[in-house]
Subunit: 138 residues, 4 copies
Amino acid sequence: MQKENTQQMPKINYATDITDDMKEAKKDYLDRHTPHVVAPDRVQKGKPFAVTVKMGRDYVHPDVVDHHIQTLQLFNGDTLLATATYNPGATTGGMDEAKGYTQVTFQISLGRKGKLTAMSYCTKHGLWVSEEKIVEVE
Amino acid sequence: MQKENTQQMPKINYATDITDDMKEAKKDYLDRHTPHVVAPDRVQKGKPFAVTVKMGRDYVHPDVVDHHIQTLQLFNGDTLLATATYNPGATTGGMDEAKGYTQVTFQISLGRKGKLTAMSYCTKHGLWVSEEKIVEVE
Amino acid sequence: MQKENTQQMPKINYATDITDDMKEAKKDYLDRHTPHVVAPDRVQKGKPFAVTVKMGRDYVHPDVVDHHIQTLQLFNGDTLLATATYNPGATTGGMDEAKGYTQVTFQISLGRKGKLTAMSYCTKHGLWVSEEKIVEVE
Amino acid sequence: MQKENTQQMPKINYATDITDDMKEAKKDYLDRHTPHVVAPDRVQKGKPFAVTVKMGRDYVHPDVVDHHIQTLQLFNGDTLLATATYNPGATTGGMDEAKGYTQVTFQISLGRKGKLTAMSYCTKHGLWVSEEKIVEVE
């Protein structure tokens, strides 16, 4: 019998709409933990293009030794394309209390329509999955 | 609004009971892709112990260049403890058509009750999550 | 007694000047396996900037299932800042016989002068280290 | 022109004989940072066997948030077989000031004579390479 996702660990946090009526702390928590895939809407078959995976839109995540965004992974459907792993302090020059703009730009190409998502791992708050970014191939 | 898991990629495949009335191919597919956490029921606080993450019980997964179990991760709740990554052919001596007993034994210790799960990644069939293994600490 | 590097495995291949009198096959082999760090000469303390690690200058490495650039790592001196790992076919859309422009752009910042190098891993030809890129901090 | 290893970063620290006349602090530093490959002298072709990569013989390395053994890699000659990555605190139950017995046991098999080495990464003291372990195949 298939288990319910809610009963299973590790929890997979999926991208959630951030709404005006949320409390500021919740907006911050959700926004800074949500990865986004930035890619063209349309690419040429087999031609390399840049895909950026970045955390958050309006809020910045800490990058301190015991709390940072460690991993950013890029998937196409169920297939893992690439993984970036940061050591703590890399985005802040190792400065205490600092916040870091954790992002990575991979160069990939596609043979057919891509369904790109990102999964990130925060060392305190676990796994997070982006919304899907469709990339058409022509 | 929280999205349904079923609409999201990458799909997270959770451990499922394998039943007698399943077709052989389905049993094989599910069994060989399901990671298991093998650990003591009870450990001493702060004392190192071995945790094995292994794939399947009765069926063996291929380990060929384009299809293998690439990653085994050990979580405690939402927290990633350790990751093992295999390159293709490592479990089979690089032999073609071979199947490989992909497993890893980590040495960890716990400060309080552990809720251990494993997540594995197959290069053709994506992400799979084990059942939870509770480890009591005394 | 310190062992000589030449007696030790895995071999670490260091960036080598490619000279006009080398044979074409050797130029190709050396160039396509050599990682380069592309970064500004000078940055502001604690301000994020992009660092690209890319393979080769004039020749392109294959990205096929049994032969590809799997890992690009960025070091500052002896300290690992970030690692990117590609699965085979990610840079070529999974097309056979294809060559791939394997590169990654990390976003980092520095608290003091950086001495950046990259280490790459080719699944057939092992570990390669770039020349050092000095980044002054003001 | 091939560069000298001594001029290149990241420094690769090779296994060194620890001698009685070394100061205690140096023995400790060298021993706890040196990875060892523990494997049978002789295995059967294509049959899986366990290989343990462990740090040190007589001294234990810290496993605290800003100083731990992050990565253990197993090579056969120039070929990477498997990588284990630990997050800080995994070997000590997250306890402060604790030291951790960082080790991992991979299951591999060989098609011909193996020349196994391990490379480890300490988050403060960089890259270290074990002595070579020869595994005969019959």
